[in-house]
């Protein structure tokens, strides 16, 4: 066996994911970030000139932008990171084509098994590249494209170029610029008009090497009347030094379409997770983000929906769990840019063992977006006196004829709730876990059954040892 399953006592909470694979990279760019590295990545990928220019321009923007002064403290040495690591020469169409040690990794994470059971398609990314991809044959026949973004640059250049970087341009923020300069992998999805995909498509992102930065780039185009549910999972083993995950996800929901994007992230506790996710929704389209954030040292992530035409809907359901040494600065952003648009944000955060969970959200209603409705509910549950929860709700309303609601609650696990459950035979730990599971139930019930089970299991792991 080439996988090392030794676990580290101090991070027992995530030990299922904390194994490292001894994997020989086919190519590893040297550490550090400069124009030469960026050109090298582009050259390795054999990219057209426009993409190389896009990357170099983005690198300049990255250098020109200061670090964000809000959110969490980001202590990253950008020169001490590997920006590109190619684990294998070719992408597998069957798991047998994938190098054994990488296949072992995904076996352990349960991906091939899930694929057999309930997925319509899978992408598995290891370090910088997608190493496995599949899509059900009937979807291929209907014209669905589900590939990695690098392949899309080569095989679907016109479609990709029409949208790439239009929803989140490189100058949007410092980390979007970084991703634009060094991006690699990620999913490219096109769902043709009227095609409804019944089962989820899943991508799994695995960081394996130390000091590795992962910068996948995902672009999803849902054409008129089409629908899709896309799920991503993310994990990494624990190393002594920090790693960086900085993705960009752009989604276009055309008239009458529907897209749900579900994330269950369980990064190791030393990953900086700085991700920009944004969708645009046209007339009568619905975009839903379901965002589960566990693990990481610092997560800054605010999935956004821009509702551009009447009847568009945006829903964001977000949960954050912050434990010792973790800061989850998560939230949501809704922009009502047309009349009769509807938005909803439900945010649930849990902090324990000195963790810090923040909700940061923006609801903006543009002038003339009359008759728009938006509702924000954010609830925080604090499990002990060492832990912290903050709420930063921003609301900007430029039109008078709108309806905006906001409710926030912060609660500690109630003594009375604990006593009630204990008086029915549950131990203090079981009672706490039950209260937390109840707290996140509104989110878990939105997940497909398999993910709901996984989510509950992850919460259980996070809760272990939390009491007494």
């Amino acid at each position: 066996m080439s996988t090392d399953t030794s676990t580290n006592e101090t991070i027992g909470e995530i030990n299922k994911y904390d194994f490292r694979t001894e994997s020989k990279a086919v190519f590893k760019a040297r550490k550090g970030l400069d124009a030469q590295i960026v050109e090298q990545i582009s050259e390795m990928k054999n990219e057209p000139a426009w993409m190389r220019e896009f990357r170099l321009k983005s690198l300049e923007i990255f250098h020109s932008k200061p670090m964000p002064k809000w959110g969490g403290s980001i202590d990253v040495d950008f020169q001490d990171i590997f920006y590109y690591l190619k684990p294998t020469d070719k992408q597998g169409r069957t798991w047998e084509d994938v190098p054994q040690e990488i296949k072992d990794t995904f076996d352990k994470l349960g991906i091939p098994e899930a694929e057999k059971k309930f997925l319509a398609g899978v992408k598995a990314q290891f370090e910088s590249e997608v190493v496995y991809g599949s899509l059900k044959e009937d979807l291929v026949q209907q014209g669905v494209i589900f590939t990695d973004t690098d392949t899309a640059v080569r095989e679907h250049p016109d479609l990709l170029r029409e949208y790439f970087g239009t929803i989140i341009p490189p100058n949007d923020n410092k980390f979007a610029a970084l991703n634009s300069a060094v991006w690699s992998g990620g999913s490219f999805i096109y769902v043709p008009k009227g095609v409804k995909i019944d089962f989820p498509l899943q991508a799994y992102f695995r960081i394996n090497a130390e000091n590795m930065g992962q910068f996948e780039r995902t672009l999803i185009i849902v054409d008129e009347g089409a629908s899709i549910h896309y799920v991503e999972g993310c994990t990494a083993p624990m190393y002594s030094s920090e790693s960086l995950h900085s993705a960009v996800v752009e989604i276009i929901c055309k008239r009458g379409s529907r897209c749900r994007y579900t994330t269950i992230q369980n990064w190791a506790n030393n990953i900086y997770n700085l991700v920009t996710k944004r969708a645009v929704a046209y007339a009568d389209a619905t975009m839903e983000w379901v965002d589960g954030n566990l693990g990481s040292k610092l997560t800054m992530k605010y999935p956004a929906v821009y509702m551009l035409e009447p009847g568009a809907r945006g829903e964001i359901l977000s949960i954050a769990f912050a434990s010792a040494g973790q800061h989850q600065d998560a939230g949501a952003k809704l922009v009502h840019a047309a009349p009769h648009t509807t938005g909803q944000i439900i945010s649930k955060s849990i902090s324990k063992n000195g963790g810090r969970a923040s909700y940061r959200g923006l609801v903006r209603v543009e002038k003339d977006a009359r008759k728009s409705k938006s509702n924000v509910v954010c609830d925080a549950l604090i499990l002990d006196s060492k832990s912290q929860s903050d709420t930063y709700p921003y609301i900007e309303i430029l039109d008078q004829d709108v309806s905006i609601g906001h409710e926030a609650s912060v609660s500690r696990i109630g003594e009375e709730q604990l006593f009630y459950l204990m008086s029915r035979g549950l131990s203090e730990a079981e009672a706490s876990t039950m209260i937390v599971n109840g707290f996140i139930e509104p989110l878990v019930k939105e997940l497909p059954m398999e993910y709901a089970v996984e989510m509950n299991r992850l919460i259980q792991l996070q809760m272990e040892g939390s009491v007494g």
Binding site: E415, Q417, F419, Y420, S423, R424, S427, A429, E430, M434
Partner: protein
């Protein structure tokens, strides 16, 4: 079965304020005891102290279930030893379904040595049992899918408590005003349910102001509490007398206890669950 719940010289304080001042009470398995007394006399406090609420400090005396000293046990251990209390105002646990809660609770109570993470009662077996009990209590099966006490009416809360009692089959149950806040029909239903589930199958301590509950569940013993002590004990006729004529006779007969009761009422209300 022969079990005994024995309360000896129990003194209980809440936030360092004494509430119970030496309660003695013995309940045998299969007996029904009524506990009556004016507001603030310490009835709920006695129940909560037996159940093991952490805010109810036992400063003197002890509570024994057979040869186990309950005062040394946490609330969950007491529950697994066979103690149950139906609360006056049970708290809501949003997001937790009744069925999941009851399956977890029943497993722990039936297998007191179960380690955390070990299997629960098999789903099929449990569902069948729960369905049977709910039919017996004339409850809508949909109830099992609702969140624990969340948005329940007063009547639903009390019935949920009785259902929990039915599923846990404790050795001793304390029913804290399980008839309060209910209309006449609901009281009748709750009383009949308690009789069906509890009578002769456990020891019952019924805290009540009303006589309907006791009509269905005639007590062998009635205790009157005043000023944190049991001042008088009689049979079923004592409960009737108190219900018809109130506590004036008791207040006059025990001036010291009455003074203590007035003193406690003047202080802040004890925490009620």
């Amino acid at each position: 079965m022969s079990h005994i719940l024995r309360i000896e010289n129990l003194h209980v304080s809440v936030n360092d304020k004494p509430i119970l001042r030496g309660v003695n009470l013995v309940i045998k398995f299969g007996e029904t005891h009524a506990l009556m007394g004016p507001n603030g006399s310490g009835k709920s406090t006695l129940g909560l102290a037996i159940a093991g609420h952490p805010n109810y400090q036992i400063t003197e005396g002890s509570i024994w279930l057979d040869d186990v000293n309950l005062t040394e046990l946490e609330a969950d251990e007491r529950s697994r030893a066979g103690i149950f209390m139906a609360f006056q105002r049970p708290v809501a646990i949003p997001g937790v379904k009744m069925a999941d809660f009851l399956r977890h609770a029943a497993t722990n109570v039936r297998r007191p040595d179960r380690k955390e993470g070990e299997d629960l009662i098999a789903m099929r077996e449990f569902r069948k049992e729960l369905k049977g009990k709910m039919e017996q209590l004339k409850m809508d099966p949909e109830f099992a899918r609702r969140y624990v006490n969340d948005g329940f009416s007063g009547g639903e809360m009390k019935r949920a408590e009785i259902l929990t009692m039915a599923m846990l089959s404790p050795k001793f149950s304390i029913l804290d005003e399980t008839d309060s806040g209910l209309d006449a029909d609901a009281v009748r239903l709750a009383s009949a349910s308690i009789a069906e589930i509890g009578r002769d199958k456990m020891g019952l301590l019924i805290i009540t102001h009303h006589d309907k509950l006791l009509e269905h569940n005639p007590p062998q013993f009635t205790h009157v509490m005043l000023g944190g002590r049991i001042v008088e004990t009689g049979g079923a006729e004592l409960a009737r007398q108190l219900h018809d004529h109130g506590y004036d006779r008791i207040r006059k007969a025990y001036p010291d206890a009455e003074a203590a009761n007035q003193q406690m009422l003047a202080k802040e209300e004890p925490l009620a669950v």
